[in-house]
Amino acid sequence: MTIFWWTRKKSYLRFILRELTSLAVAFFTIEMIFLFWSLKEGPDVYHEFMEFLRSPVLVFLNLSAMAGLLFHSITWFNLSAKAIVVKIGKARIPGKLVASVNYIAWIIISAVIVWILY
């Protein structure tokens, strides 16, 4: 099999994109660790780090990573119903409802973070 097997079908390409966008998750995680580190080091380092984040290259990187992260999260959320089968009584809960729990949790957690920050 060639290493470019994922170019043969649209569904394979979507799969590889889903896997590759995990790098965006890693990127954000590392950035967050640096952000916390700069906070620990005091205001000067923090402001210097903020200035660094404002550079066009970093803005571009962050926007690309954000797009990748959204693709990653949404594709995984939509797939979650495949693994999680919930039955209430005799009825199986529809997959869309299982997936929507992820979205609701996402919105609530994001709202709490925004509330803490502002």
């Binding site: 099999m1 097997w5 994922w6 043969r8 079908k9 569904s11 799969f15 495949k82 693994a83 999680i84």
Partner: protein, 246 residues
């Protein structure tokens, strides 16, 4: 409407020194014909040496699976009309050794099917006088997985099966789940040990195409992900909780 359609068929004879090649055949283009009808027309009227498997012609036996224009399908369920104007390329299912022409060797699948004990296991000795009752609700837990017809389309759609030697593949895992979820079965622990080992569920990267090509809506990808969740739960319970049992 066109009168004829061209089929490009993969031909391979192990006794022939020339190796595999594609051969073109012109067959009548009929609205009510599926690929299998066209193959039988070739076999009966044009070239009797063409080899392929088939039996029921109605999507039950699972023997006529082939790659048509690159996609694994049951040839008894693929109409020529949908593939017009052609040419239509017909190949054996991918990732399997080819015995001859469109006939594949599926020993690997059969061996793995035995390995996962795809039958009902009872902890106690079978009592043939006893009835093993099951409610419709209990049946619904595994019925979807029991619809598998062993057609091998999911294997041909699974790049992991092609990339990872030793991977048991989608249908075997779905069939193991079929028995795990059967209320009459006690073999879950035994199968979990096999599934957690090399070649089992953890090779699957969830490409998901196995479920997309399944003609019986078995959803092997779903079966594997449920198995992974169960495997992870069993692991955490065993290692983290002192009172934990699998």
């Amino acid at each position: 409407m066109q009168q004829q359609i061209t089929l490009e068929i993969f031909r391979y004879n192990p006794d022939d020194k020339e190796g595999p090649a594609y051969k073109k055949y012109e067959v009548p283009f009929r609205k009510d014909w599926v690929i299998l009808d066209a193959l039988n027309h070739i076999k009966d009227r044009i070239d009797g040496t063409l080899s392929f498997r088939w039996s029921c012609r109605m999507g039950i036996c699972g023997s006529c699976g082939m790659k048509v224009n690159g996609n694994p399908v049951l040839t008894c369920a693929s109409f020529l009309e949908k593939l017009a104007p052609g040419p239509i390329r017909i190949e054996p299912l991918e990732y399997f050794p080819v015995i001859r022409d469109l006939v594949i060797n599926m020993d690997d699948f059969m061996d793995n099917l035995k390995k996962v004990r795809s039958w009902i296991i009872h902890e106690k000795d079978d009592n043939l006088d006893e009835e093993y009752l099951q409610t419709p609700d209990q049946l619904s837990d595994y019925k979807q997985y029991s619809m598998c017809i062993n057609c091998m389309l999911c294997y041909s759609a699974c790049p992991v099966y092609g990339l990872e030697p030793g991977f048991m593949g989608p249908a075997v895992i779905a069939l193991a789940q079929r028995y795990n979820m059967d209320s009459r079965d006690d073999g879950n622990k035994l199968r979990m040990d096999i599934m957690n080992a090399e070649g089992g569920i953890w090779h699957c990267t969830f490409v998901g195409d196995c479920s997309a090509v399944c003609p019986k809506n078995v959803d092997p990808a779903g079966a594997i992900q449920r198995y992974k969740l169960e495997g992870a739960r069993a692991w955490w319970t065993r290692w983290l909780l002192p009172w934990g049992k699998e």
